[in-house]
Symmetry: C2
Subunit: 583 residues, 2 copies
């Protein structure tokens, strides 16, 4: 037996007991005749004490224990003379009688402490050392808890976790698939699922009624900072439901997980239409932890300033009480920021409504009175600053949305620990892609239109089609999309029409989704669902910034696992068996 | 809102309530002026009643509903005049006021009933219809429950579920990998994990202490009847443990799952050494639901019968009270059976110890008195029959093990519902492979020898190495291996020596497992674990025969998903992006 207790559980109650602990040497300290070892495991740190006068051999042995050595110590729990109030075990120490070296360690490339001195690449390479650090370990434990509570909640509601296959079929629609050559079916390939979308719909046709799965998904995309080629989804589907049923069920899930994992009571989630989110915040995932709500400013037109008079759209927002926080340099910086190609605005209009008077980048074309009146009309007061962008409407709203987030960051408007969750509803069904010269599904091709917009599906007019709203919803927390879903089409004809609108030929639709269309012939129930990004949910719940921190073994930006050095070359024999060649 | 209740919950308590149900038409019956529809969903079947006299339009509409149509019915719960005691909802019916067709169905290729008339291929192709049948649906629900209870039990003990990557590195040792070409790292490949073995060991080095994961595993093997290219494992690992800790913990898991999912109290699991299992049952996964224990019969030697006198080993077993159940023809059949190449015995010796006297295939060489004495010496009595095989010891034991199972099947010796679980312990560490002319790891290359056999690792003598026992254990239930594991090597030197014994060059070991050997340098704790086959566990728990029944979307023997028609050809463009060619 390696231990009677772990390193996090001994208290004053245990004083006098003989115990055995095993763990890692956090640090050994020699204080003259005394030596102390901080012994660490997943559960905590306990102090081991050695006395040179009482047992010099043992004490000498203890002094040889380097950082990260694995040792086993047996001794008696004693009350400490100088207690450590910062540590749950800080009232006691072990007077060690027996010490056993279980394994040595060479010197780690970075210290196992909360603030590490390793860079990210080094930490990924030695991930097994990184995980020993509290901040990393705690995140993985948190993730376990979130997954557990999710399963508990859904199971209690009668959801069944059903595993869907990972070796499926490649479908060109959507993101790029990872593919897997089949040895037994030469020249053919499986694909790894981007999501179990079609399978969960099949399960509804199969009558399973309520399905969920915490499941890995795969996308072979060029990796941006916060993307991983494999990620985890809480995937759900229900039969005989309308939008309201889904929102109720999964709002319950989110509240329950926040309560059980963070002890936070979320209020009823507000709901916002997609149109309003775009019009008021320039984003379909508005961050409501701060205001900066947009105002429409076409009233500025008619003053003879060509730029404004000819603008398709003019929008702005008021930053309360921050007039004096923006120096000329700050405004110049911000103007350069919005003109970067990633944002793409032509310029930035500001109105500083200072206590000394009004100042604006368009002061040449508008009198102080006009600017004051304009400011007041949008509830700006002395001490506020107004930012305005103009141009083509859709682009301007997005640019202003980006500016809104940047101003909030620069002005530090986000209160730490604040949680603002909401539903965004009624997304457009279709999105026109200029380059491909066709519509793409905004969510995916199985999304149902709102019942009241169903008729428009029969139109061939581009604008009419573009105006179809989907029975789709996103869960947004603190400006991040955490989950999304929709009521699905369950009628074969409507599904076929949707494929047609999306530019699929009948043959293509049949080849890729024939099994789903076929299933719809045999009594498909009305159904809908949602999927949450588990990695992202955990990250946002704890106010983190990178999903990588919540993945035990993440890949780097080149899709490499630098710890195991994958991907890698494989045997010629393997390629031969699969009947494939490189190049 | 599609329903107020599901189709399985209405009882006498609900009589008089207005309810709405949605579901599938199981069957519609027209009885003169009355029409009844059995409405089905996941939860049960409820009878809908329509009366031609009261509402002819509605009744006519009801009569048009074919099998598997999806309908919604609103009406009042009534007590039935003729109740159906076989159905939980059988006391009531719905007097329908409103009927809505939600979706039609064409005629299914087989009926949705407990006894289906579809062959297996047809049922797999229309898996969404197959799952609507109770026997299939119930198995998936059972699997959900087993997984849920497993997670509950392990989480309560402080195990953390940690997800390990699916895109890892190919290792030639063991079974064949599925591989995934990397687009971003041209000419390189990921592999899908055969198990998370190295990652869970890394997690122990990382200090996570107790890990589990219910995880998909992949093996590109030629498929036998009960193998699937992807299958699910309950994967576990613990630090600072010895064999006894692991057995206690996971015996608890198995007992807890049997209790919660089947209400069966398993007794303390017996333990048997590998050597004894082979010697007494000719199998490392003995089925203890029946006896037929082997007896060693070298005492038969010395009677001048060359075949016996020269045999390396002679073993047999007694079948109690079945002397008269074996006709000459039965014995001839069984003799042919053991001579089949799959079994490979040269012949079968029997002794029928009948009430009328003794009869044997070796009667020419042994007197009746000798045969009677022999029979009595192995506790055979009148009415019993003895079967004996001889030849090279190891082969003979295996052949007799196969014969033992076959006799039990033919004699119907297995009581339905009986559960006999045990631990098989102390497997050999190494297995000599004549063809490859080297040792292979019996479990896997990370398995630790028993502490008392550790010294033998330094030997170069083949017999000494072959005699090393591993700290390995298998959980066997009803003759199936449900789980297996071991204490792992945590010392880099011993691990390196093991790779050496297994014929790895230093470079090969480094290339494939360098990250694990590297991790062992930084304070690897003593650790060990186990993995259970979830598909198989579910199958055995319910006395099933095929793991396919417990997989929602299984593949056929060619590794094909016949429902979605995967694997399939992919776009030339995809191959180009991956820089691979077929052929």
């Amino acid at each position: 037996m390696y231990r009677t207790h772990n390193c996090g559980e001994l208290r004053m109650d245990h004083v006098g007991q003989k115990v055995t602990l095993s763990g890692w040497v956090q640090i050994a300290r020699n204080l003259g005749g005394l030596t102390f070892i901080d012994l660490r495991d997943r559960y905590g740190i306990t102090q081991l004490a050695f006395n040179m006068d009482e047992n010099s051999e043992l004490c000498t042995q203890a002094r040889k224990c380097g950082r990260e050595f694995v040792i086993q110590a047996t001794g008696v729990v004693k009350e400490r003379s100088s207690k450590n109030a910062n540590r749950p075990t800080g009232d006691v120490e072990i007077q060690v009688h027996e010490l056993k070296l279980l394994n040595e360690s060479i010197v780690p490339p970075f210290t196992i402490e909360d603030e590490s001195d390793g860079g990210e690449e080094l930490r990924l390479r030695y991930r097994y050392l990184d995980i020993r650090r509290n901040p990393v370990k705690d995140k993985l434990m948190f993730r376990h808890q979130v997954a557990l509570e999710t399963r508990k909640y859904l199971s209690q509601l009668g959801f069944l976790e059903i595993e869907t296959p990972y070796l499926i079929k490649s479908t060109p629609e959507g993101a790029r698939d990872f593919i897997v050559p089949s040895r037994m079916n030469s020249g053919q390939f499986y694909a790894l699922p981007q999501s179990p979308q079609t399978f969960k719909q099949i399960l509804m046709v199969a009558g399973m009624d309520k399905y969920f799965q915490i499941v890995r998904c795969f996308r072979d995309e060029d990796l941006r900072a916060d993307r991983q080629p494999e990620f985890t989804q809480v995937d759900c589907e229900m039969s005989f439901v309308e939008v309201e049923d889904i929102l109720q069920t999964f709002e319950g899930l989110v509240k329950s997980v926040y309560k059980s994992c963070l002890d936070i009571d979320l209020p009823e989630l507000p709901r916002m239409n997609y149109d309003e989110a775009m019009e008021s915040y320039g984003s379909d995932k508005p961050d409501l932890r701060f205001d900066l709500k947009f105002v429409e400013l076409s009233k500025m037109k008619g003053n003879g300033f060509q730029l404004i008079d000819s603008a398709d759209a003019i929008y702005g927002f008021v930053v309360k009480g921050k007039e004096s926080s923006f120096s000329n340099k700050d405004i110049n910086d911000l103007t350069e920021w919005v003109k970067r190609p990633q944002i793409g605005a032509k310029g930035l209009i500001y109105i500083k409504y200072g206590s000394e008077g009004i100042k604006s980048s368009i002061g040449k074309f508008y009198s102080d009175e006009q600017l004051t009146a304009l400011s007041k009309s949008i509830s700006a007061e002395k001490g506020d600053i107004v930012f305005i962008l103009l141009g083509e409407k859709e682009k301007t709203l997005k640019q202003l949305g980006d500016l809104r987030l940047e101003v909030a960051r620069r002005m530090d408007l986000i209160k730490t620990g604040d949680v603002k969750a909401l539903w965004v509803l009624n997304f457009p069904l279709l999105e026109w892609n200029e380059e491909a010269n066709r519509f793409f599904a905004m969510h995916h091709p199985f999304t149902s239109p709102l019942p009241e917009d169903l008729d428009k599906m029969n139109s061939t007019d581009r604008n009419t089609l573009a105006s179809i709203r989907a029975a789709a919803y996103d869960l947004v927390i603190n400006g991040s999309e955490i989950g999304g879903g929709s009521i699905r089409i369950h009628d074969r004809q409507i599904q076929a029409r949707n494929f047609e609108i999306l530019g699929f030929s009948k043959e293509e639709a049949e080849a890729q989704f024939g099994f789903l269309l076929g299933a719809f012939e045999y009594g498909a129930p009305p159904h809908g669902g949602i999927a949450f990004g588990l990695d992202r949910l955990c990250t946002i719940m704890q106010g983190g910034t990178s999903i990588r921190d919540y993945i035990a073994f993440p890949k780097n930006n080149m899709g490499r696992d630098v710890m195991i050095d994958a991907p890698s070359a494989i045997d010629e024999k393997q390629l031969k068996e699969l009947n494939i060649k490189i190049g």
